[in-house]
């Protein structure tokens, strides 16, 4: 009695005859190589398997790895992890050996009973013979398969266990939080536009002042500028505005066959498909299988549009050709052509860019740019298609943006003049304060700054000489580098010395020194215009990168301007302290904990990298 496996046996024998015999450790065929690609050298059988490749330490015991052991491990991995285009690298095999040994030593290797549950020959005996044959072709036997599974399972378990053991303590979370939430106290002098405004309002500005302001202030000019506008004539084919009765009559007079309609559709299928009404689009993608006669196509959904275009669409072409052929193209000509061909005529008078974008949005977002770049009187180059619309246009008139005459805006300018001039005067006052402070400061720091410059020049010359630089450009590079470092050092020197001059100048000039804080910095992108005035100032200080960059005791060496509070500030950082833990929001605690956990978990992953593994297990190659 023949076994039911006989046909299979026969097939396998035939396959064995047809397929080339493959020795267990025969090399895989060489892959095709991309030009320039780095070829990983194939691992070859060792000439001397007993030669010691290296040693490593697991636990307290040193172990020896021979070339033979290494090659056997490679043979274990090869059927599962090597590809013709990606041979296994030596490092990969080595790291596998080390990690497998480590995992085994740490107790992560599956027990023999577990291996039975992972052995497909035992879990699925019906397929055992087939599997064994497949393995034979791949150069695997049961023992090698189980060895591979045992090692990779042990390594995976070890990695998972260490990832699970990552812990983060509250102190680390707090340390991480507080360095971004330090509490600052500042003292500042305010140069407010409001104070300057009071003085300006006390006297009436002269015509000369106002004219000079009008001619030089972009703020004022933008308020009253007459924007660019265009006047354009358009002839439009709009299916939505077609006369339904006329259309019905035309359909009766000239029936359109499926073939003709489909041919027309296919000429511009993408445009027509985009015209499918959005509420019907879902019909094109039914959620379940439908009979053939219930399937809907885009052509069916836009069939009416296709017919409209066939019947009437060439009207726009005829109108366009007619207008184009005329000696002189005028608006009246376009209107006449529109009427003659049953199309819509539209004249848009003095449209600005914004008006084009809103009132003429159905003609597309780029219409204004196209029109603006043409000369008055010119006709567009071709018919424009925008969704269901087809149209052409002629630029009748173009008025480029202009400023009105001073006399036309003189009276309206006064308020703007006062506000802008007040803000500008406040800025000048703040700058003046800084200049006086720097003057006093310069007298003290000049010798030190000269010394810094001298040392920088010397260092530049030394570095250039050491590098053998001779060319003027090379020498200049070294000088520039060291000059930049010197400038920074001088800046920091001034910032640290400025406070005492700041205090003495504030006192001598009788300025009001105000304090603010303690506060933490917040960079939240809030619209400060919507805040109450006290909150506007608070938010300004809390979001200032310049103040954040200062050390305690330092002063800003340039005024900080704020258009919202309309003032300029010179700020000294009084002190900075760590916030208490109870100020930390619970959500921040968890958010930072996630960040630190992520670092700890990925840090545990990094331990399995080749470098870390070899270092940890003290791999020494011979």
């Amino acid at each position: 009695m023949t076994s039911r496996f006989t046909p299979l046996l026969v097939a396998c024998c035939l396959a064995a005859k047809i397929l080339p015999a493959q020795a267990v450790d025969a090399p895989l065929p060489a892959p095709a190589r991309r030009p320039g690609a780095v070829q990983v050298p194939r691992i070859e059988a060792p000439a001397n398997p007993a030669r010691v490749k290296g040693t490593f330490t697991v636990g307290t015991g040193e172990r020896t790895l021979t070339d033979g052991d290494f090659y056997q491990a490679y043979l274990l991995l090869r059927p599962h992890e090597e590809r013709p285009d990606r041979p296994l690298a030596e490092n990969t095999v080595l790291v596998h050996i080390l990690l497998a040994a480590e995992a085994e030593a740490l107790g992560f290797a599956p027990a023999d009973e577990e291996m039975d549950a992972m052995n497909p020959l035992k879990t699925n005996p019906a397929m055992a013979e087939n599997l064994l044959r497949r393995w034979e072709l791949q150069g695997i036997d049961e023992a090698k398969y189980l060895a591979y599974i045992r090692q990779t399972t042990a390594i995976a378990r070890m990695k998972d266990a260490f990832a699970s053991m990552a812990v983060v303590n509250s102190e680390a979370i707090y340390e991480n939080w507080k360095k971004d939430n330090l509490l600052h106290r500042i003292a500042y002098v305010e140069f407010a536009a409001a104070d300057e405004e009071r003085q300006l309002r006390a006297k009436t500005p002269t015509d000369e002042d106002l004219r000079r302001f009008w001619e030089s202030s972009p703020v004022a000019q933008n308020l009253y500028r007459i924007p660019t506008s265009v006047t354009v004539d358009m002839v439009v084919f709009d299916p939505a505005s077609l006369d339904k009765d006329e259309l019905a009559q035309l359909r009766r007079a000239r029936p359109i066959s499926d073939k003709e309609a489909l041919a027309y559709f296919n000429k511009d299928a993408k445009r027509f498909t985009a015209m499918v009404p959005s509420e019907k689009r879902h019909l094109l993608h039914p959620s379940q299988k439908l009979p053939l006669d219930q399937i809907v196509t885009p052509f069916e959904l836009v069939r009416d549009r296709v017919e409209e275009e066939i019947l009437l669409g060439d009207r726009i072409s005829r109108a366009f050709e007619q207008v184009k052929a005329a000696d002189q193209i005028t608006g009246d000509l376009m209107k006449k052509a529109a009427q003659q061909h049953g199309l819509r005529f539209h004249r848009a008078e003095a449209m600005t860019r914004e008006e084009c974008a809103t009132k003429l949005e159905q003609f597309g977002p780029n219409l204004f740019n196209q029109i603006f770049n043409t000369e008055p009187g010119a006709l567009c180059g071709s018919i424009v298609f925008e969704g269901p619309l087809k149209f052409f246009w002629r630029l009748d008139e173009k008025n480029v943006s202009t400023l009105p005459a001073f006399e036309a805006v003189r009276d309206k300018l006064i308020e703007t003049y006062i506000r802008e001039t007040a803000y500008s005067n406040a800025w000048e006052a703040a700058k003046g304060f800084i200049a006086r402070m720097e003057e006093r400061l310069a007298a003290e720091v000049k010798p030190e700054e000269d010394e810094i410059d001298r040392k920088a020049a010397l260092k530049a010359a030394e570095d250039a000489a050491r590098a053998g630089a001779r060319e003027p450009r090379e020498l200049a590079n070294y000088q520039n580098q060291h000059r930049a470092l010197a400038d920074n050092e001088k800046r920091m020197l001034r910032a640290s010395r400025a406070p005492k001059y700041f205090d003495s100048l504030v006192a001598s000039e009788g300025l009001a020194l105000k304090e603010f804080g303690p506060f933490t910095f917040r960079f939240e992108g809030i619209d400060r215009q919507t805040l109450a005035s006290d909150d506007q100032l608070r938010s300004f200080f809390e979001s200032s990168f310049q103040i954040k960059s200062l050390e305690p005791g330092s002063v800003t060496l340039a005024p900080l301007s704020d258009a919202t509070t309309r003032a300029h500030y010179i700020v000294k950082v009084v002190d900075r302290e760590e916030p208490p833990f109870e100020m930390m929001p619970v959500a921040d605690y968890h958010r930072l904990k996630i960040n630190l956990e992520r670092q700890a978990i990925f840090q545990s992953n990094y331990e399995w990298s080749p470098f870390e593994t070899m270092t940890r297990l003290q791999w020494k190659a011979r």
């Binding site: 812990v167 102190e171 707090y174 959005s278 689009r281 094109l284 904990k593 996630i594």
Partner: protein, 316 residues
């Protein structure tokens, strides 16, 4: 989360019932232990699970049971180490420290216990140091946490998409402002006939923009009600089925109306966006949408409308 007794692991050994002989084979216990492990080593397809999304109380109970049943088996020291970690993460620091001390004594020469890091510190010692620091910190600082989120079964609200209905459920004790805002907008018809305007295949869909009613795709994703919401972070972790308020990159606050329905776990969004509901049925509707390829504006090629929202009876 179940509350574990604050006892060292040794006490667990005394109090737990003795298993019947031969009932728990060592290899079965080992398999059970590795199945219980809260995290896989991270990989591109496997984002790490963070502490707040793990039920450490339950973890402690299960590990305790494995340890009792696995006494004198190879899994015992590994499970005890993990128990210490679990106790630490559930806030029972004294118990964690006692567990690590016990391991130091009972398994002093075990390779895992003795394993050293780059700086030469033993694993067990670095865990003990963590405990000591935490105990010292908690002596002078009160470490607060957020409540465990609970879903409200009476809050089921139906989103009627053109492809089918999706039912979402809100939380009793998380993101109340987001829930109220969402329901207010729903009742006003704000979301009616809007589209899913952003699709990341197999990852998420985004909707809730009134601009998505228009034909100009370049404006989709830019609309909103004119206000934003304060973040309301909680211990809800972003996973498949989570409904989360969108928060644009670099924005400090939640969007006022646009929200996302997630199709795969995304713990990276925890404490970045505010989740406020879960899908309880109809996720397959969103899965079907997600199988489309998005166009160049990241919108589904074929429109998917949110025709309307039917709030739960108690919200009407």
């Amino acid at each position: 989360m179940k509350i574990s007794l604050i006892l060292p692991a040794a006490a667990l050994l005394i109090l737990a019932p003795v298993p019947a002989p031969g009932q728990d084979k060592p290899h079965e216990l080992a398999r059970e232990f590795f199945d219980v492990l809260p995290r896989k080593a991270p990989s591109p397809s496997h984002p790490p699970a963070f502490s707040h999304s793990i039920d450490w109380g339950d973890m402690t109970d299960r590990l305790g049971s494995i340890i009792v049943r696995g006494k004198d088996t190879p899994i015992e020291p590994i499970a005890m180490l993990m128990l210490g970690v679990s106790l630490f993460n559930s806030g029972e620091i004294d118990a964690a420290q006692a567990t690590f001390e016990e391991i130091s004594v009972q398994f002093a020469s075990h390779p895992l216990v003795d394993r050293r890091d780059k700086g030469g510190t033993r694993l067990i010692d670095s865990l003990k140091i963590q405990c000591a620091r935490e105990i010292a910190f908690r002596r002078t600082n009160e470490v607060r946490t957020l409540p465990q989120p609970e879903l409200d079964p009476d809050s089921d609200t139906t989103l009627n998409f053109s492809k089918g209905p999706v039912v979402i459920r809100f939380y009793k004790n998380a993101a109340p402002l987001h829930r109220e805002n969402f329901l207010k907008l729903a009742k006003e018809g704000y979301y009616d006939r809007t589209r899913i305007h952003r699709l990341v295949p197999a990852t998420l869909v985004q909707l809730g923009d009134p601009n998505s009613r228009e034909q100009d795709l370049s404006r989709w994703g830019q609309g909103g009600p004119g206000y934003t919401l304060d973040n309301e972070f909680s211990l809800i972790t972003h996973r498949r089925g989570t409904v989360s308020m969108y928060r644009g990159p670099g924005r400090p606050r939640s969007h006022g109306s646009q929200f996302q329905i997630l199709l795969k776990d995304q713990p990276n969004l925890d404490f970045v966006q505010t989740p406020f509901a879960e899908v309880v049925s109809g996720i397959d509707v969103i899965d079907a949408v997600s199988r489309q390829s998005p166009n160049q504006f990241q919108a589904p090629v074929d429109d998917v409308f949110l025709n309307g929202i039917a709030p739960a009876a108690k919200f009407r």
